[in-house]
């Protein structure tokens, strides 16, 4: 057990050791060093003290975000309070981490908690589905003049290989409720890092080559396009021409990755472990994508919003989560992927300690939980704590920003990194926000 309170100092100078003068000097040096590429998003990394090799080391890493849309109950999953008026009817199970108990609905995960890192002290201060979803995906609130890129877009940019034939950011979300709430966006990073959203089918639309075109014709057309494109580029050197050529290369690469989206290629024994549910099949697809080098995959499981019949809802949904999540962790471990794949389990918030008259729990952001496992995070760690009734965080309070910074840091991306948008440096997380260092390896 490692419940350690965070440093609550949020002073810019104290946290970054940077004065206003140093800030301006750094800005000038950085802009000069990049040839004044102001406005070229992502081209300048102000204050970035991290050595280049650390960034390079980050390549090849992936994040699978298990998005429990609508808000799963921490009481019926990761932070049970048995015997309390707020605790509900479920019992608990001891886990493979001494002293740690989780809900009785998760027997498989109980045997695997020594592989995970549990955060029980989220206070994210927003209990609206849409606003909280956006905040959790972006690590902060937008500003009136700034829409921040989400975690998937940032990781796509930071972790994707330039020559990758696979997509950089894939999101599964098949149900309609809450699908639009997260407003996934690369923002100023550009459409290159926008998610491939697979909401209807697990196979991207129009990926397959038309049957009306032969392989020979297809190859010949590509050669002709390359020939004409290269000739044009020789005489018209511009970022737009390069972008055009890159887009063609990307499409060709994606078309070649069609077999990746064919889940029938998985052995029956593996598919059985994940189970027959849509959630299970999408999670298996997420593993396939991570294995193929996709940097960020979100699997959305909707819809946990249990204003009525909370216990029945969790009786139905948590065992499925238990099966699918445990299968994913086993699969990643057996393939040697867990050391370079980070798994994060969260939604937009948790659920109230109070049980309403419909035996439901309502939205609650003041004291809830998230789970991490794999790349860059300690195994068997439990960070933070809530009070005996689960009403308040009493140890290690962290918010959306800290969780976001922890995800970045875990896969080797310095949370202090900046992008440049026009003349404005954009930090990956807000100033003063620190990762949860106690759980990082």
């Amino acid at each position: 057990m490692n419940p350690i309170s965070k440093n609550t100092s949020h002073t810019l100078g104290a946290e970054h050791g940077m004065s206003r003068r140093l800030f301006m000097n750094s800005l000038a040096v950085s802009l000069a060093g990049t040839g004044g590429l102001v406005g070229n998003a992502g081209s300048a990394h102000l204050f970035d003290q991290a050595p280049l090799q650390k960034e390079l080391k980050a390549k090849g890493r992936s994040v699978i975000l298990v998005w429990l849309a609508g808000g799963a109950s921490q009481f019926e999953t990761w932070d049970p309070k048995p015997g309390r008026a707020t605790g509900g009817p479920f019992g608990t199970l001891p886990t493979s981490v001494p002293g740690l108990h989780i809900s009785e609905l998760m027997p498989k995960m109980a045997r695997r908690m020594h592989q995970t890192c549990l955060i029980r002290s989220l206070n994210t201060k927003d209990s609206g589905h849409d606003t909280a979803s956006v905040m959790m995906m972006r690590g902060r609130k937008d500003e009136p003049a700034m829409k921040y890129p989400d975690i998937g877009a940032i990781l796509a940019k930071e972790l994707a290989r330039a020559d990758s034939a696979v997509p950089d950011y894939v999101s599964f979300y098949s149900q309609t409720e809450g699908r639009s709430f997260s407003k996934l966006t690369p923002s100023f990073l550009g459409a290159r890092y926008a998610p491939m959203e697979l909401n209807v089918s697990m196979m991207p639309p129009h990926l397959r080559k038309s049957d009306r075109i032969t392989d020979l014709d297809h190859a010949a057309r590509a050669e002709l396009q390359a020939l004409l494109g290269n000739q044009f580029a020789k005489n018209h050197a511009s970022p737009w021409v390069k972008s055009h050529a890159a887009a063609y290369a990307r499409v060709a690469g994606l078309m070649s990755s069609e077999p990746l989206f064919d889940i029938e290629r998985e052995p029956a024994s593996i598919r059985e472990r994940y189970g027959p549910s849509q959630f299970g099949q999408q999670m298996l697809m997420a593993r396939r994508l991570a294995e193929a080098g996709v940097p960020f995959i979100r699997v959305g499981r909707a819809w946990w919003d249990s204003h009525g019949q909370n216990f029945e809802t969790h009786q139905e949904m948590v065992p499925e989560l238990d099966r699918v999540l445990s299968a994913l962790l086993d699969d990643l471990r057996h393939r040697g992927m867990l050391d370079h794949t980070l798994v994060v389990v969260m939604g937009e918030f948790g659920r109230t300690p109070a049980i309403n008259s419909q035996l439901g729990r309502d939205h609650f952001s003041r004291a809830w939980s998230a789970l991490m496992a794999g790349c860059g995070v300690q195994e068997g760690a439990v960070f933070g704590a809530t009070d005996p009734d689960g009403k308040e965080v009493i140890e290690g309070e962290v918010g959306a920003g800290e969780l976001f910074a922890t995800m970045l840091q875990a896969v080797g991306i310095p949370h202090t990194k900046h992008y440049q948008f026009g003349q404005r440096p954009i930090p990956l997380v807000n100033y003063g926000i620190e990762p949860i260092r106690q759980i990082l390896t």
């Binding site: 819809w303 029945e312 809802t313 008259s357």
Partner: protein, 330 residues
């Protein structure tokens, strides 16, 4: 013309799920894992200690000549002598949550139902297991665990009806344990494939008519948004022993689950209680399948029970009890 009149209501710290009369007092099981003695108006009886002995919500209480019986989400079946605060026996009755217990009238057996989808028939004197009956599907059509919510005996105690989450009703003959009939009320179960990928509903209450020719089944109609109990309160009737549907009532006034049903033993109506955000009570005409009277309850109602004189009704529910008079106006 029959109506209710609210006489008393009492706030309680715990959610009260179930109610039974035993040795002249009411006993209600709660979310605090205890059984509370209540007076005729629903106020706590200071002369009786709350009974412990459970590890989770107490969801069923029933009275036999010998004992007050209780079941809960801990899977236990407990036998009590409540007036001297004695737990006589405790059995692990089911492997999952126990949802209901009923003692057969005029017969020496009782029944429990649980989420292991088993119907257990017990000796009501010794708690010796007589039958473990299986017939309810363990999983919903979508592959999720089902739940076996409720059971009811016929007035002579020789028929037992049991009902589950997906709207299946089984009729058993006792003491043989033979399955007599399967009936279905699929509208009581809502599966949302498109928006939320989960379900809500289930049959929550059953009652035999006094002549044993009809079975009333309570739950909720189709739900647009399965985040809450937004379906219309619903009762269906089935002819026995044919099992054919014979009537339907859906309330235009009240939404939510019909959690409890009871035929009046001498008057021509069926009493229903339940709720969504708000609670309700209804008097239904079993012949016309129409409402005689509907009213709001001060709390979500989990169970109702007529007093011995059948002129008053006690309801237990969400942190509250309420006592109602049953009035007959000419």
């Amino acid at each position: 013309m029959f109506t209710f009149q609210l006489e008393n209501q009492t706030e309680h710290q715990t959610i009260l799920f179930c109610l039974a009369a035993h040795d002249g007092h009411w006993f209600a099981g709660g979310s605090d894992a205890r059984i509370h003695g209540l007076d005729s108006s629903g106020k706590p009886l200071s002369s009786l200690q709350a009974l412990g002995g459970h590890q989770s919500y107490v969801t069923g209480v029933a009275s036999s000549e010998s004992f007050l019986w209780s079941v809960g989400y801990d899977g236990l079946l407990n036998a009590w002598k409540p007036h001297d605060n004695t737990l006589h026996t405790s059995h692990q009755a089911h492997q999952k949550w126990v949802r209901d217990i009923q003692v057969a009238p005029h017969q020496p057996w009782m029944a429990t139902v649980g989420d292991d989808m088993k119907v257990m028939i017990w000796d009501a004197l010794t708690a010796r297991l007589i039958h473990s009956l299986e017939g309810h599907a363990k999983q919903s059509p979508q592959g999720f665990s089902s739940m076996l919510y409720t059971c009811a005996f016929s007035p002579d105690g020789t028929l037992l009806a049991t009902a589950d989450r997906i709207g299946e009703i089984l009729l058993w003959e006792l003491p043989s344990g033979k399955l007599l009939q399967k009936m279905s009320a699929p509208a009581m179960y809502t599966w949302d494939e498109v928006q939320r990928l989960r379900s809500i509903g289930g049959i929550r209450s059953l009652a035999f008519s006094t002549d044993q020719q009809t079975l009333a089944v309570g739950g909720m109609g189709h739900v647009q948004n399965v985040d809450g109990l937004g379906g219309k309160a619903r009762v269906e009737w089935f002819d026995l022993p044919s099992g054919e549907p014979s009537g339907l009532f859906e309330s235009d006034s009240h939404k939510g689950l019909v959690e409890s049903l009871q035929y009046h033993p001498s008057e021509p109506y069926l009493i229903a209680g339940g709720g969504s955000g708000k609670g309700f009570l209804m008097l239904l005409d079993p012949l016309t399948h129409e409402a005689i009277h509907e009213t709001e309850s001060p709390m979500y109602v989990h169970q109702i029970a007529l007093n011995q004189d059948t002129n008053s009704l006690l309801a237990v529910g969400h942190h509250r009890t309420a006592e109602w008079s049953l009035l007959k106006n000419n």
